[in-house]
Subunit: 339 residues, 2 copies
Amino acid sequence: MDARKKRILGILIDDYIASAEPVGSRTLAKKYDLGISSATIRNEMADLEELGYLEQPHTSAGRVPSDRGYRYYVDELMPKRYITNDAVSRVRMAFQAPMREIAWFIHQTARMVSEMTGYPSMVVAPPVLEARLAEIRVLRLQPGTLLFLVSTDAGVVENRVVSVPEELSVDGLGALAQEFSREFHGIPIHELKDRILDPLAHDAERYRGLWGTLGGWMAEWNLYEDRVTLAGPLSILQYPEFRDIDKVQRVLGFLEREDAVEELLKAAASSTESVQVMIGQESSVEAIWDCSVVTATYQVRSHVVGQVSVIGPKRMHYAQVVATLELVSEELSRALKWA
Amino acid sequence: MDARKKRILGILIDDYIASAEPVGSRTLAKKYDLGISSATIRNEMADLEELGYLEQPHTSAGRVPSDRGYRYYVDELMPKRYITNDAVSRVRMAFQAPMREIAWFIHQTARMVSEMTGYPSMVVAPPVLEARLAEIRVLRLQPGTLLFLVSTDAGVVENRVVSVPEELSVDGLGALAQEFSREFHGIPIHELKDRILDPLAHDAERYRGLWGTLGGWMAEWNLYEDRVTLAGPLSILQYPEFRDIDKVQRVLGFLEREDAVEELLKAAASSTESVQVMIGQESSVEAIWDCSVVTATYQVRSHVVGQVSVIGPKRMHYAQVVATLELVSEELSRALKWA
DNA sequence: AATTAGCACTCTGATATCTCGAGTGCTAAT
DNA sequence: ATTAGCACTCGAGATATCAGAGTGCTAATT
């Protein structure tokens, strides 16, 4: 793999990313000043195909990068730090808004990333269920209506309005909540349900029913919570590779399935790299085998708590996407550091 | 418009709704036992076309209902109360879950309706901004973190976690919130911002900054809130009229725009009818001129507070959709009556 | 030895042409 | 008023044709 091959491969992929048309030797020679003839390029391209970096849609078409070609491009060839000053200041600006819930930042991030890159964006929120209980409070809003407040070590506060029979006495409830908080401080949320429901764990028999409901609610917590936020799914429709309804249906159908997306992104982000690229069949999900997914992680107190991600055709503008995600995930971590 | 014409029109539309193929006289005569020959049907169909109820895609194709034809079908011909016992019990079941926030019901409703009908469903949530303030509370969660609780006459409770400078004294904040609640009780939320920001409205100079931020937050409230919940948008992809990407893009693009959808549904639901059908060009939104929209309203304390809606091809299964929405909106109203 | 010009060959996509069949409208018979 | 019969229309799909872009190979050139 000499320098010239690299050069040709790089230019070819750039061109294909921009044009979506198979690239031929003639076009390449004419359009870019390579100082060699189309015949030479032809030979090099034949070599690159043999090496597995390019493929031909059919005999007499130009070449198209293979998954392996994209991989090489992403790892070795593409320009780094491909980002404008405008983008940087925009992201900084967006995260400067103070006094916001985490959910707000998550939505904001997804929307912004999708808009900046032109691809759908998915953001995985910090997992509530793995957070540890800090405090639980009960407030009486009106007769028959209670508000439960749960704060965790991740600083996340979740709350639910709960209606209960009006005749339920809530006098000692505050005290009970306090006691409860003390007892279960530091327990992961997902363990709470069982603890709460375990009749031996506390002796306040007359509150059993209420705590039971609370436990049930917590059990469903992660079902109801938006763990994955999806923004701009329709942007894929603008790309010629998605003129085919069935393909669109496959991909968007996958994106709609929060659990599946969450699983994919979490797996992707186990890597040590701050930004990871998954190309075509590298993904475990068949539905997106002709897409690429770029994923970055973000942290709270130097623990990875979530992912920011972009999905698009394999013919994706990797340089810009990677740079954008690097920036955004960094700024998001910074914005969440108070949490 | 004699009985036979009605019969033919009804059957033709039923057939077209089921098959998506233009219906010819021959097919009609063969498939259904009308007791008359295809020639007679042909004549009747020609009349129906002249009357504006049918149209021909091209000279030698079968007939297809016009907007007017669908309208007549919906108003006069279609079977009423087209619903199964299964559906009824399913809906009842779904709304039996107690102890839920309004937002939960809204999501639940949208999902369920989309699944039951096979079309995308949109649900407009009760407008927070028009609700009147009942009470505002401030809680200190941790140093530097406050929780604002706002309850309204609609029983809706909204809350936001707000981080403030740690050094801010929150001692008198509870009292201030109480005083505030007393003073502004019954004021619509959307007026609160100005009131709060008006320096004459209260004299607690040292809290000005905090209330100011609170006001700013309230101003953005409705921007951040999900006022419209969309479920199952991709279900339209299964219908042959949406094989065309551009059409899909138009329609889904519209559905993504919460404000536009909200406006449309609110306008639609000004009607006195409990369920309203908007067919094709009857809609003010050009992007959905080849769709139909069915909308029902739901109430809290016999005030209309929101809409439940379904969108699909004009060739929609109106009978089932109307019946489903009737049922769902009724049950949703019932479920929300405690609010 | 590497590069390039030249050329025959291949394949696709666009365009044109043809055919078939479903459906119509009209007329004349019932 | 209904229906059988028939000529006519139009589109969808199949088939044929053609131009163009691209390739691989060979022989000439540097």
